[in-house]
Symmetry: C2
């Protein structure tokens, strides 16, 4: 017999396949951030999600596939975020570059949990082939888009320089800042992190970027 209160208080025991998978993936991100890759166990993930550990195997077949799905989730989320930012930006290459760089620090993307999870996947040799399978093409696409935009802005602004290398610098500055946010005892805040990437952009494109980001008066 199911009472009304019971039905309200207790969420459906049975969630849809996708909802349950997502719940386990989010728990995996949280556990990875707290305990690290090495100590991310199915038991801990299940406990965090309030489920039994057998369920993780039921939905993902193996721990390895759960981790792969987690990486896929992060990768897709990241890609959707920068593509949405690009879609909302104007046609001017400087605006598009600014949108791309700011997107990496969007509150939904740049959370301690997610940064830590990314770092775990980068750092763990064991996960490297998986990373390349799941993220290699996304990373390449991002790099290609950014390089093309840098090339356009170099022409438009009459700047000297090598588009590929400038794009790579802008890219690794973001990754490096992310790494700083993870490894430093007392990291600087989001504000200062963005000021750092704007400093890099301003160095290459001084008439289009300043310490606060995109210069509108150009």
């Amino acid at each position: 017999m199911v009472s009304l209160t019971e039905a309200i208080a207790a969420p459906r025991r049975k969630l849809s396949r996708e909802e349950r998978r997502l719940q386990l993936i989010e728990a995996t991100i949280a556990v990875m951030a707290e305990h690290g890759y090495a100590r991310t166990t199915l038991g801990e993930v299940a406990r965090r999600a309030g489920l039994s550990h057998g369920l993780a195997n039921f939905h993902f077949e193996s721990k390895e596939k759960l981790l792969a799905a987690t990486l896929d989730h992060l990768s897709e989320e990241y890609r959707a975020n920068w593509q949405a930012a690009l879609a909302a930006a104007s046609d001017h290459p400087a605006d598009r570059i600014a949108a791309l760089m700011a997107a990496d620090f969007a509150p939904a993307i740049c959370t301690p949990d997610r940064l830590a999870a990314w770092c775990s996947f980068w750092g763990e040799a064991q996960s490297r082939p998986m990373y390349q399978d799941h993220c290699g093409s996304n990373d390449q696409e991002y790099q290609d888009v950014l390089e093309r935009l840098c090339d356009d802005l170099l022409s438009l602004g009459g700047y000297p320089g090598h588009a590929g290398r400038i794009a790579r610098v802008l890219r690794v500055v973001t990754e490096g800042v992310w790494l700083n946010l993870m490894t430093m005892q007392a990291p600087y805040d989001r504000e200062e992190a963005m000021a750092t990437v704007w400093a890099a952009a301003a160095a290459f494109f001084p008439r289009h970027f300043g310490a606060e980001g995109r210069l509108s008066g150009a």
Copy 2:
């Protein structure tokens, strides 16, 4: 003194404390690079060194202390490398900055094994307090030195900009490039890696740096 043949044919079963510790540390770096932090076991380290796993505990008390000693070793080696490079450079801040940046790509430091080991320590949440204890002050010292040099060069060259942020950009570019070398399927070579950091330096200090590094005609 042991005879020459003896030294070559049969390595002494008994090495000095320091030699044995170093041997185990080097084996740890190799195993971390190959199997990752999560699958770095005392047994595997010992096997790599041709010793029994009990010996690792005998010399380091615990796995955790072996990993801490390994991080210490990497950290000291890194620090000695950049300090030696600085000592060999002229007084001109641009020369000193160039020396510092080139030092990170010295063949002794920038090996696949060592890069992978660094990435493992960065990525593993579990090792983060240890990293801060053992490397926090070294990282800070490097950053302070670099910032001071950037400040000097800004004044000397009459460049605009914020020394702290420029120093941070130069620093994270190197770290980001290191990360690229680890995570990319087909990474660019050392030559291109250095060209990338020179592009960053040239963006901030265009009269002192070019695509090939330090400009001598300034």
